[in-house]
Symmetry: C2
Subunit: 196 residues, 2 copies
């Protein structure tokens, strides 16, 4: 009763959505990825810095190059998923700020002149955008399989450059047979929320 | 056409939702916060680590203690918002892992024995949960005003302890008059997504 979002949308995005480990063969199209991005790009980031970048690993050759850097338990599903996305941060995001934050172009130099400041901010805000992206994948009727188990330096060297830090790798597709483990317990609200 | 989520939900969560800087006087209730948490707690984190913790700053005394640590441009709106939440990470989240990840209790010691490893993982996964929380606030028909502009050490000392790192402060309520700036531009999909 306290939520305005309709129950079907609650189920689609959170209650029935599950991390998938197996997928059907149905392809994930460019149109779907564009529709997902064009929805979740509106999620807020600090100073609208929008540091998330996405590499879609589509060709068999590129998929093989990625799989070798995945943790052993993540290799088979990453090789088999209809689509795999490497999410990373652009640590030089401040170069775009005069365009992204036209009413406050000084933010580029006032807040983000130092690379370590940018890296932490890109990690925090890139992770916000990664979560919006996962929600967006679900909004497209697809399942996401986000993974942190990979050799980050290897993935960076293979697909990115020194200015881009891998955040996570996400398998994407329609869930297949036995796609998910039973749902693990969550913390109770009273363990997470305190009032002062 | 590529999204399954209905258009009203797309608008509520992303397209028409905006970061708010002013709010009406309408209170944000415990029931609303519980409903938000009980929806977004299902959002995925690595090993279900669920490191986000939320402090609701409700009493006038606590609000005053918080406002003094906010950046000047954030003080007035933080003092006036119906509810303010301090979002932080629990860097000792691994203590809960045997309960949160019953099928793989070794994760606690195999992956998270080292505090720096936990801190980075809590930052990444806590930020994912912060984004789910922002989406949840919107799902309740409320507006969020997330802020990074505050003295993190001051907020930590005032409300938390050495094991909890502030992530962001979020004003919450129904948007008031002139609540938002005009929407800033977003990067085009072709600037963000590349295919290999």
């Amino acid at each position: 009763m306290s939520l305005v979002l309709d129950a079907a949308a609650q189920d689609l995005l959170f209650r029935q959505a599950r991390t998938a480990n197996t997928f059907t063969d149905e392809p994930v199209t460019e149109e779907q990825i564009r529709a997902i991005y064009d929805l979740v790009k509106y999620g807020p980031t600090a100073f609208n810095q929008s540091p998330l970048r996405i590499t879609l690993v589509r060709s068999p050759q590129a998929r093989e190059r990625l799989v070798q850097h995945m943790a052993e338990g993540n290799r088979q599903k990453t090789a088999a998923a209809p689509l795999v996305a490497v999410l990373c941060t652009d640590n030089e995001f401040h170069e775009e700020l005069p365009r992204l934050l036209p009413h406050f172009p000084q933010a580029k130099d006032m807040f983000y002149a130092q690379r370590p400041v940018r890296e932490r901010s890109a990690l925090l805000n890139g992770a916000l955008q990664a979560a919006y992206f996962i929600v967006g994948v679900r909004a497209a009727g697809l399942a996401a399989g986000p993974m942190n188990g990979f050799d980050a330096a290897g993935v960076q060297k293979e697909f990115l450059d020194d200015d881009h830090t891998p955040l996570m790798v996400v398998n994407i597709g329609k869930p297949g047979e036995n796609a998910s483990l039973p749902r693990s317990p969550r913390l109770d609200v009273d363990e997470v929320v305190t009032t002062v």
